[in-house]
Amino acid sequence: MVGMHIVRILKMVGSIALLTVIAFTSSTASMYDEKIPCDDGDGKLTEEEISSAICSYMLEDGDLSLDDVSDAAWVYAYWGGEPKTMTDGFGEVVTFYRPVERIVSAWCTNNELLKVLDSTDKIVAVDSSMTGKSTTLFPELTDLPDCGGWHEPDFEAIISLRPDVYSPWLITTANEDDSYGIMRKRYLEENLLGMPIICIDNNEYRTDEYFMNEVKMLGDILDKQEVAEEFVEFYSDCTDPIIERTRGLSEDDMPKVWITSLFFSGGAVTASPYAYTVFEPVDFAGGKNIATGLGGHGRNVDLEWVIEQNPEYIFIQIWASGNRKSPYAPDYPVSIAKEQVDEVLNTPELAGVDAIQNRKVYVLQYSHFTKGPARGICTAYLAKLLHPDFFGSLNPQELHQEYVDIFLHIDCDVIGNGASFVYPFEVN
């Protein structure tokens, strides 16, 4: 008898849970209707449609919310009554039927770009792995809810926050079978119930031109066109004079550079170390990447091959999130960079290489420096390192400070903190 009651109760609980899930799913799905709120569905919101919706709302008639009416008013006033579109890194068009007011952003460098575009007030949740820990760079995001790691999103948490858009980390140029390429986007789409996904790709293998276009498109979607233009101007001011100067260099005048990372090999140089095959900041700065043309974005190579190439400079990329801090933090541990420089300098097989002989081994910060909006700054630092004679008047740290003051709005003395981005780094 008691058992039957329990079974009945369990069935009731199960039914309620199922109904709740269905109701939640259907209401969530309706949040992402592919139409402008208050529009009749023809894709063009007219004055009559928005006016009628406003009048009804003000009379408390109908089921439109203030958010619906307000979003529609915005689309009518600022978007000409039509949806906006953005072509993402995969070449797929993402359509926005409402202004972007709530963003769940799961990648620290994307957050830096949103900060540059004066839009962090739209972020409602961040990844647990990095952003929330970066109190110096993102003080305004420190207390936001956690949407899971960048690689392992918490879909339930994301959906419950009802964002207008989800911004993940992806490799938009990856092969189709790569788990962080288009397959990843499809996986996110399946789990996010129609939520628009912005695939920002500001990785270092993307070209300068692509990145500038991405900034402008994002500025347009966020209605931050002016600051996007301002940033593009600043970026060009950083890189154009450098590119202009290095463009005419002969092969002989371009020092050979090996760009590597010890991230996948436990901080050690192995017999088959990594080499980045595409790294535009080095190209712009007048370096000759020894791995250019080897395919992909990067690959493992034989250490013997590296020795044969005899690089004059070695750049080791280091991933800041390993420290759960941004390199802007005053207590960012430079010791890890020092360890990696020492590891390369003390690798016996490399002892005869020019870069070791001349102690031209540097750590470059990966997050917030070689990728993302600061890559123009990174180009300036590299130009200064690779061609100190050409760029005698160039002061990368001054440019960096300008970037921090104008676009990041954080209290950070770059000159006192410069070694966190390039280690070791001395202006003269």
Binding site: A77, Q225, S236
Partner: protein, 158 residues
């Protein structure tokens, strides 16, 4: 070399500034910077006779562009003219006669007028609310609590 580099940057900045100014003049790529609507005022003449049809004027204070929703409630005993087209020339309004309310959608139109017929005697308070619909907010589930109050006006008839 030092001077050359500095000159290049200076020249590039000058050229870019000129381009930006030119872009501003042709009106392209401007950011959306919405200036919040300041307030909405109501004006009603003071000497109203019994049964008189009089005009209520609303004026919106703020910079263009704006989209403002307004709802007005007229006092008990007061009425709107019988036909909707006689109530107002404003392009977008809706009336709920049962609740004595009238709503407006003001899109870049600062001045609104509507007509009301006074009772034979008595007095009443005109109340109203407005909302600036171009204020975006990441807050969820905002509703009527966001509406602003238009200052009450008491009307005495006779």
């Amino acid at each position: 070399m030092v001077e050359r580099y500095a000159n290049e940057i200076y020249l590039a900045r000058c050229v870019f500034n000129v381009l930006i100014i030119a872009l501003l003049f042709v009106g392209t790529s401007a950011s959306v910077v919405h200036n919040d609507v300041e307030t909405v005022n109501r004006h009603i003449k003071s000497d109203i006779q019994g049964g008189e049809e009089f005009i209520v004027t609303l004026d919106i204070v703020g910079e263009l562009p704006f989209v403002v929703g307004i709802v007005e409630t007229i006092p008990e005993g007061f009425e709107f003219p019988k036909d909707d087209e006689d109530v107002s020339d404003f392009p977008h309004f809706e009336i709920d006669r049962g609740r004595r309310t009238i709503s407006f959608a003001a899109i870049d139109e600062r001045d609104i007028e509507y007509k009301v017929i006074a009772p034979s005697s008595g007095e009443g308070i005109f109340r109203g609310k407005w909302v600036d619909l171009l204020i975006l907010s990441p807050e969820l589930d905002e509703g009527y609590e966001r509406l602003n109050v238009i200052e009450d006006v008491t009307v005495k008839v006779g």
